[in-house]
């Protein structure tokens, strides 16, 4: 174990916490509103679609051992186009984090702290994220690794006791609104996995790209499975009323009880959930600071974190209410980011192919 490097366990925990958390926010309901009871298939299908992009991206990245995403983009596409593309990625991810964090603030407020001003909850969330991000990715990873088991366990525990009140037959008719519609939505909803694209920024922090690739596939498989299972169980539990429920995970843990004598145990789940969210945003802010630092050649990107966090906090505070966040802002970001990242992955691979980078690499290896 080299010091200062991100271990594969830690990286996997970050990935699982960052993307797995999507099963607990508004995503399941969003998917349900589009494809009804076939929503559980979407994460699996879009995983397959996104896999192609990610696979090609990692293949391309393989040529540039130990370089991060932005270096690769700039090296392949030239300084100007590369810079522009990186800027686009950074902006998308910045808006993504702003509205994402706002969504989670809304969840906390509407389910657990109804009379507390939004800004306060939001500020605490972001300050924590900034503090974590300032500690660096190794430490974020370590915290992630310490909590990830309990978080995933509690999620599955919650899901398992949810099955008491659900009927499996709710997933029928199996194809929901039709196979074509599912496929269409799956390709649009690859944003679910967009963070994997951003995580390639961390390649230099790992010991080798091989390790990175392996851990990514493990995390990827696990996360897509997790999101799919979660949505499946929400569908079985709420059936058609899922479309009227904004955040099914929180509604369902509010309903759960452990026997008669521990009636409302949602706080136990909330505790672990919020831990995951803190880690998630710490990692997210760190990634964004890393991108910004790389973009404008600022070496010590840790000093950027407080400023960036404040900006995200301000952007996130723009929408007036939860409905605006989920319908206008987040919708836009989710529809843009996934496909954009996907196209960029393909583009990089294509350029590398045309430039003959793969052949060069082969020759190099052959010698």
């Amino acid at each position: 174990m080299e010091s200062g490097k991100l271990g594969k366990r830690e990286y996997m925990s970050i990935a699982i916490l960052m993307i797995g958390a999507k099963a607990t926010d508004s995503n399941p309901a969003l998917l349900y509103s589009k494809v009804q009871n076939a929503a559980w298939m979407v994460p699996l299908l879009s995983a397959v679609i996104f896999f192609v992009g990610l696979f090609l991206l990692l293949k391309t990245m393989d040529l540039f051992q130990g370089k991060n995403l932005f270096s690769v983009i700039q090296q392949l596409l030239g300084r100007y186009i590369g810079f522009f593309l990186c800027l686009v990625i950074f902006l998308i991810s910045s808006f993504g984090i702003s509205f994402d964090s706002r969504t989670y603030t809304n969840i906390i407020r509407s389910f657990y702290f109804t009379t507390t001003p939004n800004l306060i909850i939001y500020a605490v969330l972001m300050v924590l994220g900034a503090y974590g991000a300032k500690k660096g990715i190794q430490n974020i990873g370590s915290v992630g690794y310490l909590v990830v088991f309990y978080v995933v366990l509690s999620l599955f525990f919650a899901l398992i006791i949810s099955t008491q009140d659900s009927t499996l037959q709710a997933i029928f008719p199996i194809w929901g609104p039709g196979k074509l519609e599912i496929l269409k939505q799956s390709s649009l909803k690859i944003t679910l996995y967009a963070e994997f694209f951003l995580l390639t920024m961390l390649i230099p922090n790992m010991t080798s790209i091989k390790e990175f690739r392996k851990s990514t596939w493990y995390a990827f498989a696990f996360v897509s499975f997790q999101i799919s299972i979660a949505i499946l169980i929400f569908i079985c539990m709420f059936d058609t009323s899922l479309k009227g429920i904004g955040y099914p995970f929180h509604t369902s843990i509010g309903f759960l009880s452990l026997g008669l004598y521990l009636p409302n145990v949602e706080i136990l789940f909330f505790v672990l959930w919020i831990l995951a969210i803190f880690v998630r945003f710490a990692a997210f802010i760190y990634l964004n600071a890393l991108m910004f630092g790389h973009l404008f050649k600022i070496n010590d990107h840790k000093f950027l974190i407080p400023a960036l966090t404040t900006i995200y906090l301000l952007i996130g505070s723009i929408p007036e209410n939860a409905i605006e966040v989920s319908l206008v802002f987040k919708q836009a970001i989710t529809n843009i980011s996934g496909p954009t990242f996907f196209v960029i992955s393909l583009l990089l691979w294509f350029v590398a192919l045309v430039k003959g980078e793969f052949k060069h690499a082969k020759n190099r290896n052959g010698m």
Binding site: N37, T114, P173
Partner: protein, 415 residues
């Protein structure tokens, strides 16, 4: 540098603390008055409802020592309000503490209001309130909900939440009342294909109820005497599109509960006619489901065909004719009899649902979904309509696992 950092850290901490010290949601728990039961009645004024709140007094029955309290265990208030959420504030004119729905166990709606079309809009407010959980129960009372709460004075449980907890829990286990949580209510509403059953209750006994067989009562009809209170939970109110349309008796409710795989009823005790000669008395048995029902449907064609197989296990508890079950024939007779009995019971029930209720009182439609590929096809099929003309067969799969003690006829004197 180190020191600067520390100072900055502490400053940040102090700032955070100052920011956080608002304590917005903080409220001491004794500052709250906990509503256990919520009653909803129609009001004379249009658009309004009459809200009744049953509040528990925490001091009674839970504190040992600390001076015996002479306070009453509960408080009931009824007043006019626009809805039951804003009513929390209004209630503070009477109640000294903040009203909280955190412990809300049961929402009782008077039958009159449940039959009103306004009811559905009122009850949907429950989704808006954060404190109301979807595992609260919905019940319908024959009289006004306000009267119901006043007349309902449990003898054994002083604390109201305990009373409702036990009453409902055991009622559901015995199958006489449906598991009518709000979650199920809203789920059924959203699905829009089935009827919803809410538990039926009353605190007023009918004056001269006619005699019926053991379980064919609805609440208030059971003629019990003694030193007791009059509240009864029995049977169910049938809701169609959020409006009450009919009632089911205890026995019918139990049948629905047996058919419904989504509720957990425990073993139930029941009577059935004695197939053996020699005694007028019915036989009694303990029955439980040994697995989920198997539902087979043939939905193509003009008349859909539905076959429901119910796996049941029985233990015979009484044997008034002293039939000898060592004889295989007797066993067969008994089995056939029970089978026939349950079959007719259920098929009659289905007939009633098709003709009288015009809908199935449990989520049977969910089992039909797997015969369709897409939602469009399923919608085109239109379950609600197709069900009415469906041909339904119930096949009970009976397994008698215990015939009870083999008793011989008691000897007559002089034999």
């Amino acid at each position: 540098m180190q020191k600067t950092e520390t100072v900055c850290k502490w400053l940040m901490l102090i700032i955070m603390v100052c920011l956080l010290s608002g304590c917005w949601d903080r409220e001491e728990l004794e500052d709250k008055a906990y509503v256990i039961g919520l009653g909803i009645d129609s009001s004379k004024h249009k658009g309004n409802i009459k809200v009744t709140m049953l509040l528990a007094n925490p001091e009674v029955g839970s504190v040992q020592g600390g001076g015996g309290s002479t306070e009453k265990p509960r408080e009931i208030i009824t007043f006019e309000a626009n809805d039951f959420i804003a009513a929390k504030a209004t209630a503070n004119a009477i109640i000294s503490r903040n009203i909280s729905y955190e412990l809300l166990k049961i929402i009782v709606v008077s039958e009159k209001y449940a039959r009103d079309k306004e009811f559905i809009t009122t009850i949907y407010d429950a989704l808006k309130d954060k404190e109301i959980r979807l595992n609260s129960y919905l019940a319908v009372s024959r009289e006004k909900a306000s009267e119901y709460f006043i007349k309902n004075r449990p003898r054994m449980e002083t604390r109201p939440h305990k009373y409702y907890q036990f009453m409902i829990e055991h009622g559901i286990q015995n199958g006489f009342i449906p598991d009518s949580t709000l979650l199920r209510f809203f789920r059924t509403m959203e699905r829009g294909t089935d009827l919803f059953l809410a538990m039926y209750t009353t605190a007023v006994r009918e004056k001269n109820p006619e005699y019926k067989k053991e379980d064919e009562y609805t609440a208030g009809q059971l003629n019990a005497t003694g030193d007791l209170q009059d509240t009864q939970f029995m049977g169910s109110a049938v809701f169609r599109n959020g409006k009450m349309i009919n009632k089911l008796t205890g026995e019918e409710t139990r049948n629905v509960n047996i058919l419904d795989d989504t509720t957990n009823i425990k073993d139930i005790l029941l009577n059935f006619p004695n197939p053996f000669p020699g005694s007028e008395k019915q036989m009694s048995a303990r029955m439980f489901k040994s697995g989920n029902n198997k539902v087979k449907m043939k939905l193509k064609g003009a008349r859909p065909k539905i076959i429901i197989i119910i796996p049941l296990q029985l233990e015979i508890m009484s044997n008034p004719s002293m039939a000898d079950f060592k004889v295989k024939k007797n066993q067969k007779i008994l089995k056939e009899r029970i089978k026939e009995d349950i079959r007719t019971l259920n098929e009659d029930l289905f007939k009633k649902t098709q003709t009288e209720l015009k809908g199935v009182p449990y989520p049977l439609s969910v089992s039909a979904r797997k015969y369709f590929g897409t939602i469009q096809e399923y919608k085109k099929f239109n379950w609600a309509k197709s069900y009415l003309k469906a041909d339904i067969h119930v096949i009970p799969e009976i397994e008698i696992i215990d015939f009870g003690k083999q008793t011989k006829k008691p000897l007559k004197m002089g034999d």
